[in-house]
């Protein structure tokens, strides 16, 4: 009666393992899984070890025992001025007292040079005189001191340290030996042999990375050099980088993802952006040099605004650096933002449009906020990379030696990575120590930046 046909198909069940076979097959699979897990753990350990070794090396070099000779002891200076060295330190002296100390210690030539770089007082001169001053300031190449603000106390303290106290580190030890063999090291320093070669040397545990280091400007002397100019330079440059790359990048991504039609032209643009993300950073440096520094020199040097001075007339300013790095990370920001926008489900767009909203209304209120965590992550990763870029800025023209803090986008500049690079290429041992300290500063800056990123991202996700 029924029209069903029952077919008996081939029975494959005996082609599968059963019983003991099954056990050993499962066992084999479990073992392979175990091996894979071990392998991945090993890889992880190797990576962590590499990082740990790096940190160890850096920290080792940034702290340690030193044998130090002060040409003139700070206590002596304090006493000379008339204070009790037990109660007062060099840093406690007043500005005027410090200037007096300086006056009495350096030669006139050196003093005039210092004053021309940066004056000590608004209203009077210490080494120069009125007549000569007006003359040199009116010349075709006036020195920086004509326009710059007068020095402040930390500046002068630094000078006193540099030129009067003139500490000289004659030997350095790494951190680990310094911790575990301290007595031996001290003994060595106090030994007759050592004292004969280096009279007056004292043992001193020195943290090369200290507050002094962070707040002092550059100096040819490794003992007194600091990274302040470099930090400020980096911060200024990065600020301009972000100010340029973020709005432009996110805007471009919005256009490409939401508005551009999929025609040949837009495909080409997209391909080009993807390729630009992989271009070596030094090429961007050359681009920056050619266009920003040279062609757009009136703008980048600030002369069209009446800003800047003789020294910046060639466009090697913070704004050039900022825009160069901005161009460098722009493709990455665009791509990351596009990915973030693409990840927003289409149902949200449909929902907005179905209510009678325009595309832009929907994007502004819903799509973009939803994509923000991804956009921020991508942008901040890109910015962190920019923070560490060296080559392009060398080409664009970071100053090799600059002691004045940047005062605006049209100032000359240097950045942390370049500073580190310069110090590592110097022969003296001590430069290695301060390079290590500077590297630590850079790392801390990066961590702070990334922490800010995570914080911002969380705030955005939560408020949604």
């Amino acid at each position: 009666m029924s029209t069903r046909i029952e077919l008996q198909e081939k029975d494959y069940s005996d082609l599968f393992p059963v019983g003991e076979d099954l056990q050993s097959q499962i066992g084999g699979r479990r073992r392979r899984e175990g091996l894979a897990r071990i392998l991945f753990m090993v890889v992880l350990i190797v990576a962590i070890s590499a990082l740990a070794t790096l940190l160890y090396t850096i920290i080792n070099a940034a702290f340690g025992m030193t044998a130090i000779i002060n040409t003139v002891e700070p206590d002596t200076i304090v006493a000379d001025v008339g204070h009790d060295p037990e109660e007062t330190g060099l840093a406690d002296l007043t500005y005027d007292e410090l200037v007096v100390v300086l006056e009495g210690s350096v030669t006139n030539n050196v003093g005039r040079r210092l004053e021309r770089d940066q004056r000590f007082y608004e209203d009077r001169f210490v080494f120069e005189n009125e007549a000569t001053w007006s003359e040199i300031c009116a010349s075709s190449q006036p020195p920086t001191g004509c326009d710059a603000a007068p020095r402040d106390k930390s500046n002068v303290l630094q000078l006193v340290n540099e030129r009067v106290v003139e500490p000289d580190v004659v030997k350095t030890w790494e951190l680990i030996p310094s911790l575990f063999e301290r007595e031996a090291i001290e003994a060595e320093i106090r030994s007759e042999e050592f004292q004969a070669a280096n009279p007056g040397a004292r043992p001193e545990f020195r943290a090369w990375l200290n507050w002094q280091f962070v707040t002092s400007p550059q100096s040819p002397n490794p003992e007194t050099a600091g990274v302040r100019t470099a930090i400020l330079g980096s911060l200024w440059v990065i600020a301009l980088t972000v100010l340029f790359a973020f709005p432009v990048g996110v805007g471009a991504a919005i256009y490409l993802e939401e508005f551009a039609r999929p025609n040949r032209l837009n495909q080409m643009i997209q391909t080009n952006i993807n390729n630009l993300a992989g271009v070596p950073s030094i090429i961007y440096g050359m681009l920056g040099l050619a266009i920003l520094v040279r062609v757009l020199e009136p703008i980048t040097s600030g002369s069209f605004l009446g800003e800047g001075g003789s020294a910046t007339e060639n466009g090697r300013t913070i704004i050039s650096a900022g825009l160069t790095l901005g161009l460098l990370i722009l493709p990455v920001v665009i791509i990351a933002s596009q990915e973030a926008l693409r990840a927003v489900p289409n149902s949200m767009r449909a929902a907005g449009l179905a209510l009678g909203a325009t595309k832009w209304q929907t994007i502004r209120k819903h799509i973009l906020p939803a994509a923000m965590p991804g956009v921020l992550t991508g942008s901040i990763l890109a910015t962190a990379r920019a923070l560490g870029e060296t080559a392009p800025l060398v080409v664009v023209g970071a100053s090799t030696f600059i002691i004045t803090d940047p005062s605006g986008p049209f100032s000359k500049f240097t950045v942390l990575p370049i500073q580190i690079f310069q110090w590592t290429s110097r022969p003296q041992d001590e430069f290695r120590n301060i390079a290590a300290a500077a590297i630590l500063v850079l790392l801390i800056l990066l961590i702070v930046m990334n922490a800010t990123a995570v914080f911002l991202r969380n705030r955005y996700s939560r408020s949604n």
Binding site: M1, R261, P262, P345, S347, M348, R349, A350, A351, G352, L353, A354, L355, G356, A357, T358, Q361, K365, H366, P369, A370, N464
Partner: protein, 295 residues
């Protein structure tokens, strides 16, 4: 005079003719009902590039009624629905031929702004898609972008009214500032309905509105539809025939056919009163589909 049993079991089965569609005579199968429908399509075909997804649809949807579109997958019912409020414009390469009139005005006319169309013809989707914002904002935003001119308290009233109409007010009145995502699936869908209502549309299109929901939530949505039809005209696409039978006043059956180029084009097969379509459809194709006797 005993009679012998003339039928054996085998005979009974073989002699029974295959069930057929009703053979009574009346007007042709794809009748267009009242010409005064709120949305009327005439010879509408929808293309995606060269591919004709649905061909020559002529339908008139009545005001304050629920009309259902049913049919197998690929028959074009969702395509037709999306064409009624120009949501198909979002698909690159989509093209509509023929006429689609809303209250007599052609909505695909070049002077017509789709944004305006969508304000009057709203849409609710298969998977609830509230915005990741507060419940209040979900509803107020639609009104705002459409230029709501009232003050804050008037907006609150609008939101409350929308939520009440969607049978959701009691459940959320104490947590209007919580995220729309904090609601259950059924509640989210009702939120989406409230959101659509807040812009005071004329027609609400629903694309399988309950297919992602559990049976109880589904029932509530169906009850809601029956309440809403007093104020709105509703057109729903559903793959659940029993749902169409439960809620709709008229049902349109679409089917897909393989043409000579091997392309599958959907077309309208029958459109009539729901109880008629599900009890005595006029077209054999419809009968085959609703009784499960196909392919």
């Amino acid at each position: 005079m005993t009679s012998e049993v003339r039928m054996s079991e085998g005979e009974v089965t073989e002699r029974v003719r295959p069930q057929g569609a009703s053979q009574s005579q009346s007007s042709d199968a794809s009748e267009v009902a009242t010409p005064l429908g709120v949305i009327v399509t005439e010879g509408m075909s929808v293309y995606y590039g060269k591919f004709r997804a649905v061909a020559d649809v002529s339908l008139s949807f009545a005001t304050n009624e629920i009309s259902a579109l049913i049919g197998p997958s690929g028959c074009g019912k969702s395509t037709v629905l999306r064409s009624l409020n120009r949501m198909n414009d979002l698909v690159p390469g989509a093209r509509v031929e023929g006429s689609v009139r809303y209250h007599g005005d052609e909505i695909y006319h070049e002077d017509v702004d789709p944004v305006e169309v969508r304000r009057k013809i709203g849409m609710v989707f298969q998977k609830p898609n509230p915005f990741p914002k507060s419940i209040f904002e979900n509803i107020s935003w639609g009104a705002k972008v459409n230029g709501f001119k009232g003050n804050k308290s008037e907006m609150s009233d609008l939101v409350q009214e929308a939520l009440e109409s969607a049978a959701l007010w009691d459940e959320v009145k104490d947590k209007l500032n919580e995220s729309g995502y904090s609601l259950s699936g059924g509640q989210q869908q009702r939120l989406c309905i409230a959101r659509a209502i807040a812009t005071k549309p004329d027609v609400i299109l629903m694309d399988e509105p309950a297919s992602a929901l559990d049976p109880i939530a589904t029932l509530r949505i169906e009850e809601l539809m029956l309440d809403l039809k007093n104020d709105y005209s509703i057109i729903i696409v559903t793959h659940n025939m029993q749902q169409a039978a439960r809620v709709s006043d008229r049902t349109a059956f679409f089917n897909v056919k393989l043409n000579d180029q091997g392309m599958r084009t959907g077309r309208l097969v029958e459109y009539t009163e729901t109880s008629q379509l599900f009890t005595s459809p006029k077209v054999q194709e419809t009968e085959d589909y609703i009784t499960g006797r196909f392919g």
